[in-house]
Symmetry: none
Subunit: 135 residues, 4 copies
DNA sequence: GTGGTCTAGACCACT
DNA sequence: GTGGTCTAGACCACT
């Protein structure tokens, strides 16, 4: 599983991780029924405390995004992907609206904003390709 | 001064307000030397506790964004607009990068994202025009 | 707030506490909008770790039973009491069915079970009266 | 042997099964010396992992509820039925007390609770008669 | 080996 | 003073 943490961004790491798992489940990057890394394993990978991951998995389970099987593991919940995707799209759009407003306040117009998006998207593509080249 | 508060968005209102004042000062929507509403007046406008505005003004003064003149009022600080704008642009860009990543995880590609931006921008234009028509 | 913990019953204390708060909110013993003890205060009262209470309050907030206001306190959520009561009644009834089955396996018939209920209910009444007499 | 498993009730299935065997041995539904189904047979009947049954039989043997005869089978232990019944009755009563408290918190009084018990008991009788009719 | 509960304690953000 | 996040680590239950 690919999770990126940005430290010192103000957003708590647990929220960053949860948001990314939620998005990947809703978007299908993580398929329904797929097994997630164990609490300890993901904690090791991301170099965070196992309790933090435990907390995130627990929360996402309550939300219906994940399913936990005691003594077995944690899995992407099956069913209602449609609803989850719709909800995530709504949240994404809300953030787009906020971004546009902040940009306007800074005197950044729409075309400049499209430019920033483009640059970020191409930067992301390169970074993903680099990762894939590694493995 | 135009500030929009989004309740229930997770982001504390004091941070929402401070971020918007910072952006408007950096972007020139609020010009250097311009007088801001009094603590009480802004609190009334936004329907928040005056203490909250008091703390925001204090903090932004420490950051060098605002200037308080005892017995007179609070003003946009003069000078170093350039630095502030650069800093705000960096923060904006960081959020753009995050947005692009979240979109990608949701299976939303770059062109769809441009579409969302466009819709939000035109929505914003209409809402601003409506407000201007009122006053 | 009146919470009773039974140690050594197999049921984790966090579940015992959460169940009782849920029932009291659904039943109206705790009224909508009412302030709950702070995390630290309830932890002290019940002699459990504050983290345990934090966890319980967080979970009940996600469930929509409570509402937390940062820097202010924790409150009984307003609205949908009806649904909550119905849900709690269903859970209670499920436990009644289980109890009846276990009793049957032990060779305890319905009338004996009614006797046990009666004794427990009168025991509870006395204990509550004693508590009220104290204060 | 009649065992009912309720999935998704929070209580682990191994505990549900063990509790029911214990209750039936204590209550005499399973008589002292009576042969239990083999590990594999019971696992097949209940559609659970044979390992789970294996552990349950082991544990109940340690508790003195069952007796395993190598190369022969598993049997209800002889003797000390009295003690077992007393212990089970105590556990049942403890659950009755808890039920009464939860009901009280929900605003359900004693007479309503008797009604729920009655309904559950008559529902159980019907279901048992139906099963007996089948075989 | 997997998840579940609980304690202990630090540091931060908000009103 | 209130809630929010995070680390560290113990012990238990389930497969």
């Amino acid at each position: 599983m690919l999770i990126r943490i940005e430290t010192g961004s103000g957003t708590p790491i647990s929220r960053q991780i949860a948001d990314q798992i939620r998005a990947q489940c809703a978007g299908g990057v993580l398929a329904p029924g797929e097994r997630l890394p164990s609490v300890r394993e993901l904690a090791r990978q991301l170099a965070v405390n196992p309790n933090t991951i435990q907390h995130i998995y627990e929360r996402l389970t309550l939300e219906g995004v994940l399913e936990r099987r005691h003594g077995d593991g944690t899995f992407v919940a099956t069913g209602n992907q449609q609803d989850q995707k719709a909800e995530q799209m709504e949240l994404l759009n809300r953030d787009v609206v906020r971004l546009v407003e902040r940009a306007a306040m800074l005197g950044v117009d729409e075309s400049e904003l499209h430019g920033l998006i483009e640059k970020a998207a191409s930067g992301r593509r390169e970074s993903v390709e680099a990762k894939e080249g590694q493995s």
